[in-house]
Subunit: 304 residues, 3 copies
């Protein structure tokens, strides 16, 4: 069973207009068979998140590298938070570009193998890590710019939404959005809050209920991304934008960012444990577990 087969599924799917919505959702499932990879990855823990610092420019590029689809495994989340913390403590770095090392995909979102067939303690640990990632990114003192060089559904979209600015590749096969409903699940309220802050209440209501995945042009129109450029210019554009934001005195910019975002982050902080409990009891339901199992089985068969 080749892991590359997994990537083929969403890739092909992305070529089909409507179907791609459902299939890209499949994209955020890493097959249970990927467990072997998990083990080997633990030996090279620092390889899920590559950090390329440029002290002269005061910036760093952070690349997600969790093939095939950069699913947000517990390991990747942990590494991401540690890497971010290191950068925030590094006086030579003031801005970071977030991008992907996996061709065609920014991140396919949460890792379903962390949410399926495990025990409640594991679900709780995983969800806490997802919360932690969001809180750290959303409130980061660094300037964060997303260089979205591939599809970015669900949790991938969330990461992009935490940034200060979003540059996306103009490939119409790529799309971005919180498509949770397509899988029969619901985006948590803080995903929703982050989206409403970005594209407004009405557009969020429609996008979230329909699980819309926007191609670049539509994402730009609705305000989900800020700029669309040819793929080979995504990273350089992100770096230019970073330079603009870094022209602002750090302290004033950071206080302003915090003023804009703290009330939203506080909503999660005030009910963080309850949110974990909600997730654990929801994901533990037989109906949800069965539905996730079916997806994983389907994926395995496709690769058979």
């Amino acid at each position: 069973m080749a892991l590359t087969a997994v990537i083929r599924v969403p890739s092909r799917a992305l070529l089909r207009p409507w179907a791609r919505l459902r299939d890209a959702a499949l994209g955020w499932i890493e097959p249970a068979g990927g467990g072997g990879v998990e083990v080997s990855a633990q030996r090279f823990a620092s390889q899920k998140v590559l950090v390329e610092p440029d002290p002269a420019a005061g910036v760093a590029v952070m690349k997600f590298k969790n093939p095939p689809v950069n699913s947000l495994s517990l390991e990747l989340l942990t590494e991401l938070v540690i890497s971010l913390e290191k950068l925030e403590n590094d006086k030579t770095v003031r801005g970071v570009v977030l991008t992907s090392d996996c061709p065609g995909i920014f991140s396919a979102g949460l890792d379903l193998t962390e949410m399926c067939g495990r025990n409640p303690a594991h679900y709780a640990e995983y969800w806490k890590a997802v919360q932690e990632m969001w809180l750290r990114l959303y409130l980061s003192n660094l300037v964060l710019v997303a260089a979205i060089n591939g599809a970015s559904p669900a949790g991938g979209c969330l990461i992009a939404l935490t940034c200060d600015y979003r540059v996306m590749a103009d490939n119409p096969k790529y799309c971005i959005g919180l498509n949770e409903t397509l899988l029969g699940i619901v985006a948590p309220f803080w995903f929703k809050d982050n989206l409403v802050n970005t594209i407004g209440h009405r557009a969020s209501e429609r996008a979230l209920q329909l699980g819309l995945l926007f191609p670049p042009t539509e994402a730009l129109q609705v305000g989900m991304v800020d700029k669309v450029v040819p793929k080979d210019q995504v990273q350089s554009t992100a770096l230019s934008v970073l330079a603009q934001w870094m022209a602002i005195p750090d302290h004033a910019r950071q206080l302003t960012k915090n003023m804009m975002r703290k009330p939203t982050a506080d909503r999660l902080l005030k009910q963080r444990d309850a949110d974990i409990q909600n997730f654990v009891s929801f994901i533990s339901r037989d109906s949800i577990q069965k539905s996730l199992q079916m997806y994983l089985e389907k994926l395995k068969q496709k690769k058979g």
Copy 2:
């Protein structure tokens, strides 16, 4: 005195660009002389709201039929809530199109005869029914699509705003908006909340203060409706949109809708009685009653 005369007033008025704003507001007054119709209608109570189910498609079309202008009488409101409840309990139905059976008008809004020359207990009963209609529609588990096939001022606009999607006929004589200030009254805070959630704070501030009634093209631009199509395609388009929304797993879509809307509905629920008291004491004022009486007299004279 022919009731058809009443409908002629807003119809003619709609042809005059600016004047139509004021005159369409008159459209939401049902003359006191219509009382005879009320009585006869009570015998055929189920006729104010026609429901045409299509179990094969899993949908129903709900048509308001309270000629001449679909004013939201206590009777219509009661029927609407009962019909909606029946549909929500009907496992064969997952989505509903809301539209009008009266030519040229979706609904002219609240029924002024319910708000004029009655006693406080009646005002309280009426207002509770208006609240109930809004709460039921706004939080409905069904997919609701408005097929706006005519003018839709004040309460008519509110009904449209509660839906998940709004399709409007492209007739420039039709218009939609919360025009309460033109009559010297004020939209309640929950009308306002629903509008802000739909078109944003700034556009609402302007539209509510000026009592703006938007022709279809402008309504589309400001986000008050989602699609404008030729009149004969309004219902079919609404049904197509319904099918798109129904492609989403019900449970996930319903939880998402609830997450988006519950905080807004809760604001009313938390102060429902106070809101009724506010309405009763406002509408009972001599100055307001006189002003409403004058409108009703003016209407009678026009029909003389």
Copy 3:
């Protein structure tokens, strides 16, 4: 040392695309050397805010006259609030146009000489006056229309944002925005709230962090102003708009305006003293005082 030299700085600066952002921020500094003017102005206190009533039309034009850049000195703020109160108590006036008597500048915002080299009691008095100005304008029962006939950074922008409608001159050298971060300081939360209510959360997040100053066309696009017209039509257009708003029954319009804005004003009212304390302790910091001193020195040298 000629005061006219001061005005030349921002004027010239406005001609340079990017540099104008920083320099226009300098525009809101009145040099310490202007103290002599302060004294003489105190003798003619009523001259900082000119009021031209037109009882026949039921309107008045209020012109800021604090050369060279209409900086919001304690004196101007006090006069503004008194003038506004008089107009609100004047039964013949229902609407006011706010504009500038100084060529090329609407208002350059807060007066740095009030915030530099003074004692904490003065800072507290000054900040209370800034709060008072905002609260009075934002909640005014009058229709307020801004005729923005010049550059409008920082506090100048805030005044415009409190109005019911904003008309701006189409001169690309003029710009408008809350550019506080460019000076290393932070817009208070109620500046932010007013901006978010006007242009939405995402646009505010970007504009506030980057301290963006928008030329008229961009200001229109982002929703920071409502109409852009040739400079010689700014005031007449503002008066036409005023007439439109005054066509609405006052009582209904005022209640509606209050319903839209009171929650935002209440946020400041609930923590007014704490907000003053924050300002005093922030502005009293050695680092901030040094930075402000440097700006003032630089201005003096430019005029040398």
